[in-house]
């Protein structure tokens, strides 16, 4: 099912285009895609461009994809209370509130709005501790979701 669903999503992204502020940078296979994400309008991240890496396994879309902000020479993880400096994202929809109804572009839009509504540019309070010991796949982390409003 994962390939068929991803094929459909990829086709849609290519044919109909990604949502505003989002661009498919890499989508050559059904293992890993990279999309860029910008926050449109006034926000703390105005003018910044981030990249999201989606990694899929055969369980997709029953299981969520692994989604992280790309951290390399070109991209940095946004400074946000729910984004760790290693690119891991603490978002309930990527964890226990995932639903197979969600798609790659839906996730991008959600994260875009998460950034757009941010009021303080800062790292999660436990950033250093988490980053030091984080698993490679953030889906292996059990997140505690602290608040609804960021």
């Amino acid at each position: 099912m994962s390939t068929r669903r991803l094929q459909k999503e990829l086709l849609e992204l290519k044919n109909e285009g990604a949502p505003a502020g989002i661009q498919l940078l890499k989508g050559d296979d059904f293992q890993s895609w990279i999309l860029s994400i910008e926050v449109l309008g006034e926000s703390l991240y105005k003018g910044d461009k981030f990249a999201l890496e989606f990694r899929f396994d055969s369980q997709y879309p029953i299981a969520p994809p692994s989604v992280t902000f790309v951290v390399n020479e070109q991209f940095q993880a946004p400074e946000h209370p729910h984004v760790y400096s290693n690119g891991h994202i603490c978002a309930s929809i990527l964890a226990n509130e995932w639903s197979p109804v969600l798609t790659v572009s839906a996730v991008c839009i959600t994260l875009q709005s998460m950034l757009a509504s941010c009021k303080r540019k800062e790292r999660p309070p436990d950033n250093d501790r988490y980053v030091a010991r984080a698993p490679a796949d953030p889906r292996r982390t059990r997140w505690a979701f602290h608040d609804d409003d960021v």
Binding site: M1, I62, I109, W143, F145
Partner: protein
């Protein structure tokens, strides 16, 4: 005065003296009141000082007291002392209560424990000051031998109580009461409620935080079997709808005959059977509206009474904008009132994380009922099981532990 009055012994300063009667006996040297007349040579109070304890709950005295208590509670095992390898002695303790009337008129009770056969042994080998791990006690073989060189210092009395509750022979009886509070093994500076280093404390805090984010509860086989199924046929109104999981429109021309079977959830959202069943096995909710087929720990989801209406399936709306009251990011997802359940679960899982509990026998029953929403969550009575469950791979399921490499 040829027939002299016997001397008194002061348990506080260990002096032998004649007490000041004011009117109760007071030690002539330190003025303490914990003094005893040495009148019975068979029960010389000075011998109690062999363990060098002043308080029955500190030092070896406390150890022995609790250890003796543990013995007393243990069911009789005829071969216990016989099979103790090598030592044989020193493993039995008696609880000794000594009630002595004092000349001053007040009655006084002293109590202590001492090894039945070898008093000196405890004073030699058990005083290394090294803190044993709880698993040493848990793992103690049925013969009751105590690992050499390990002792718990008095302030850690609680550890003994934990160990006592954890004794293989006593398991089950206490597990139900404590809900599995007691960790089956304690390495890495963790023992029950105590931690000995910053890392262990971090671990615990992390686990508490993490365990408060609730996992979805899977639908039971029974619930899934009862869902209405419909085989697609010509003219079915379903043919105009999509499956929200695979995003395909329902169709009669499909390669997979299973996709002709449509499951409609109580909230009226239809899905291909092969699409919805794997999801329900990981979360008993509607993917579209999060209607709960089985109660979920997550209070964000709309309750069974408020499903979205029919239709609207197969759209690509992001969750964030789709109502349902769910915060798309964040959201404190702890099961309301389930914090103790989570704590218990966490202690169970945490203990087995830290390895070294393979000899935790006697807990391999009750493997069923994993998916029951309430029982498995709030009072997991079997730590080993609960941690194993967490590791079972369920499609879309969440592995429990943050890997620390």
């Amino acid at each position: 005065m040829s027939n002299r009055e016997p001397l008194w012994y002061c348990h506080e300063c260990h002096a032998e003296m004649r007490p000041l009667m004011v009117p109760d006996p007071h030690c002539a040297s330190c003025n303490g009141t914990f003094v005893e007349k040495m009148e019975n040579p068979a029960d010389d109070p000075r011998e109690f000082s062999g363990g060098d304890f002043e308080d029955p709950f500190s030092g070896d005295g406390g150890d022995n007291f609790l250890f003796g208590l543990m013995r007393a509670m243990a069911p009789p095992q005829p071969n216990r002392t016989a099979s103790a390898p090598g030592t044989g002695n020193g493993s039995g303790f008696t609880l000794h209560i000594d009630r002595t009337g004092t000349p001053g008129g007040g009655a006084r009770t002293t109590f202590s424990t001492r090894p039945m056969q070898s008093r000196s042994r405890t004073t030699q080998s058990d005083r290394t000051g090294e803190i044993p791990t709880l698993s040493d006690y848990v793992a103690r073989n049925p013969a009751g031998t105590r690992p050499e060189g390990n002792t718990i210092n008095g302030s850690l009395m609680f550890q003994y109580l934990l160990a006592m509750l954890q004794q293989p022979g006593r398991r089950g009886q206490f597990d139900n009461t404590l809900g599995g509070l007691v960790p089956p093994g304690a390495e890495n500076g963790r023992m029950g409620d105590y931690v000995f280093n910053q890392e262990a404390l971090d671990q615990i805090i992390t686990q508490i935080m993490e365990s408060s984010s609730a996992h979805p509860v899977a639908a039971t086989e029974e619930v899934m079997e009862k869902l209405p199924r419909e085989v697609l046929e010509e003219g079915s109104p379903l043919l105009e709808k999509d499956c929200a999981v695979c995003k395909d429109q329902f169709s009669l021309t499909t390669e997979d005959p299973d996709e002709l079977v449509i499951v409609t959830l109580p909230c009226k959202h239809p899905f291909h059977e092969p699409c919805i069943v794997p999801w329900l096995k990981s979360s008993g909710t509607c993917p579209v509206c999060r209607y709960q087929l089985v109660p979920q720990p997550d209070h964000h989801s709309p309750g069974p009474g408020s499903p979205n209406g029919p239709g609207g399936s197969g759209n690509n709306r992001p969750r964030a904008g789709s109502g349902g009251g769910s915060g798309s990011t964040g959201g404190f997802a702890a099961a309301p009132g389930g914090i103790f359940g989570n704590l218990f679960q966490m202690f169970g899982a945490g203990g087995s994380d830290t390895n070294g509990n393979s000899n935790h026998s006697g807990s391999s029953s009750n493997t069923t009922g994993n998916n029951r929403p309430s029982t498995s969550r709030t009072n997991s009575t079997n730590h080993n099981n609960s941690s194993q469950n967490a590791r079972e791979h369920v499609p879309g399921g969440w592995s429990d532990d943050m890997e620390v490499d």
